[in-house]
């Protein structure tokens, strides 16, 4: 039996135009929706599969505002069976603060007899891009951590994780449980919630806890938008008639004879 905890973060959808709040401390999300990163959607899928394969349970956790229940419910709708919200404004939390709070929940649950053999997180949050919560959590808990992996399997208390290496090869790690792993998109296809999944999710009570500590903070001074690039495009032509001009350019750049 493998019990899995998967950590997600509610983030503004920044696929369109991005605006900042007046104090330049956050992205103005009034006109955009909220989501979780693609990495975390894959982490949830992996958590549900591993729990199902081993007869264990998958629990989802988020540190965020009360509205983050929306993202927790989405994970419950695809097969997680427990949810924890550490209710706080995440803007004031740095990666070390978040890792410490997750570790506190893990310790509290363990004391109550609910242990997590494997903890999955996204490789990096879509908003703050710190690349460190999973690793800091592993040090908090004294567990091994495997980073940036696409697939995870658990057999006889050993995690086998695979991901792309620096030279494009597929690297394999094998670590004993309990362990932490951070997930990159691409290894699994996140499932869509079913109607019954959604109905079940509604009945599950989300455990809401307060942060244990005053956060040290993210050391953010302010956010800025990159300067707008002036449109300096040179149009070579329209349709097939542009082909000779394109090949002239390719030759000028030395990429074809």
């Amino acid at each position: 039996m493998t019990n899995v905890l998967v950590c997600i973060k509610r983030v503004p959808d920044s696929s369109g135009e991005v605006l900042l709040t007046a104090d330049a401390q956050a992205v103005d999300a009034r006109y955009v929706g909220f989501t979780v990163s693609a990495h975390e959607s894959c982490a949830v899928e992996l958590a549900v599969r591993i729990a199902a394969a081993g007869g264990g349970a998958a629990t989802v956790l988020a540190l965020g505002p009360a509205e983050a229940v929306e993202q927790l419910r989405a994970a419950l709708g695809v097969g997680c069976t427990g949810a924890v919200l550490v209710e706080a404004d995440p803007v004031g939390f740095g990666p070390a603060d978040v890792a410490r709070e997750i570790a506190a929940v893990v310790a509290a649950h363990e004391a109550a007899g609910r242990t997590y053999d494997l903890i999955l997180l996204g490789n990096d949050a879509a908003d703050t891009g710190d690349f460190q919560v999973g690793i800091r959590l592993a040090y908090e808990l004294g567990r091994p951590v495997v980073n940036g992996i696409n697939t995870v399997e658990v057999t006889d208390g050993v995690v086998t994780a695979r991901g792309a290496g620096a030279d494009g090869g597929i690297e394999t790690y094998r670590v004993p449980l309990p362990a932490v792993a951070t997930v990159l998109e691409g290894g699994v296809e996140p499932r869509y919630p079913t109607i019954t999944g959604r109905m079940k999710a509604k009945k599950i009570t989300v455990e809401v806890v307060e942060p244990r500590w005053e956060p040290a903070g993210s050391a953010r001074v302010r956010l800025t938008l990159p300067p707008a690039q002036p449109n300096t495009v040179e149009v070579l032509g329209e349709g097939t008639a542009a082909a000779p001009a394109v090949v002239d350019l390719l030759r000028g750049l030395g990429v074809t004879r």
Binding site: S14, S15, G16, V18, V27, H39, P95, A96, D124, D127, G129, D130, F131, Q132, I135, R136, G142, P144, V145, N147, G148, G165, A166, D167, G168, G169, I170, E171, T172, R174, E185, G186, S218, A219, R220, V221, R222, L223, T224, P226, T232, V233, E234, V235, L236, G237, E238, G239, T240, A242, A243, P244, V247, L249, L250, R251, L253, V255, T256, R257
Partner: protein, 333 residues
């Protein structure tokens, strides 16, 4: 002294690592007036290809710390960070940096956790010079590069990774001679647990070399279906380049994930990028903004990819790309 974790491939220091050395050198130089920046050292863990030390000297590195021994033969985030930590202790670095690559960010996150200091990922510039005793502010990419964050790094060593192409790698006019110091730090048993146990070759196609490709031909929603890639695949072949696709293409299952360019895919930096039928959402831009020249092919002259490109052809990729392929073949005779 600023310590740079330098990644190597089969032939020496990676291009991105040479950029990071250049970034660190600029930062150190900007402080040499009051003596607080100091020299740049490099730390290499594992393989050290012939000529790497001399090459790093050409970029201004004065000392290369090379961690040797069985413990470092296979990659592991914790054990490699342990080596950098030992090099830091020996050399008393005031800042430790690496490239904002998957491995660079991973190793630095381990190091920051071990030292109990903050870390800033994907720094693009430092608004003010680095000074040991002064607050140090970095500007770094957040929201996949759509937003920049100014962040204070009060801890020492200041730990930060440098985003790809934040600066161009530039050798010194008069190279320094770097000295090599080999060391074999002791490693705790626990740091050896999570290491790579085996590596298999990647997909046997051109996408494996996406990150280092000189030419990348891109395709997006405009491809229309899984059958709409023949033209771009052929063009990539003719230019000896790689195929990269937008997220929508992999989400729809038209092409495999490992070909994706963008925030959650590969970040590319070719001499020439040719995005075809890609509108240019910010997440895609995050992956291709470092291309030297961009030639966009799109039906929409107002698409962000077109307005941010160097050159553009307005038209349907299914007509334009075959015509380009034909013209290339015709001229080659």
């Amino acid at each position: 002294m600023i310590l740079v974790f330098v990644e190597t491939d089969g032939s020496g220091a990676t291009e991105a690592s040479l950029e990071t050395v250049t970034f660190a050198r600029d930062l150190a130089t900007s402080e040499s007036a009051d003596g607080s920046g100091g020299p740049v050292h490099a730390v290499v863990v594992g393989a050290l290809p012939d000529g790497t030390v001399e090459a790093l000297g050409g970029y201004g590195v004065t000392e290369v710390h090379h961690a040797t021994g069985e413990a470092f033969s296979a990659y592991g985030g914790a054990v490699w960070a342990a080596a950098i930590q030992a090099a830091h202790l020996d050399s008393a670095a005031v800042a430790v940096t690496a490239t904002g690559s998957p491995r660079g960010n991973e190793v630095l996150a381990h190091l920051a956790a071990r030292l109990g200091v903050a870390m800033a990922a994907n720094v693009v510039r430092c608004p003010a010079p680095f000074a040991v005793a002064q607050p140090f502010v970095v500007s770094r990419q957040v929201f996949g590069g759509a937003v920049l964050e100014e962040m204070r790094l009060d801890d020492r060593p200041a730990v930060f990774s440098v985003a790809g192409h934040a600066v161009e790698g530039a050798p010194l006019a008069s190279p320094t001679t770097a000295t090599l110091r080999e060391f074999s730090p002791e490693v705790a048993e626990g740091d050896l647990v999570a290491r790579v146990v085996s590596t298999e070759p990647g997909e046997p196609d051109r996408s494996g070399s996406l990150r280092s490709a000189r030419v990348v031909v891109g395709a997006g929603r405009g491809a229309g279906s899984a059958d709409g890639f023949d033209g771009v695949v052929e063009l990539a072949g003719l230019l000896d380049g790689s195929l990269g696709v937008s997220r929508v293409v992999t989400s729809l299952g038209w092409r495999p994930h490992h070909e994706q360019v963008g925030q959650t895919g590969s970040r590319i930096s070719p001499e020439l990028y040719i995005p075809c039928g890609i509108s240019g959402a910010i997440q895609h831009w995050a992956g291709c903004a470092s291309s030297k020249t961009i030639l966009a092919i799109n039906t929409d002259a107002d698409a962000p990819m077109v307005t941010r490109a160097t050159y553009a052809v307005i038209g349907d990729m299914h007509e334009v790309v075959p015509a380009i392929n034909e013209e290339i073949r015709r001229r080659r005779g």
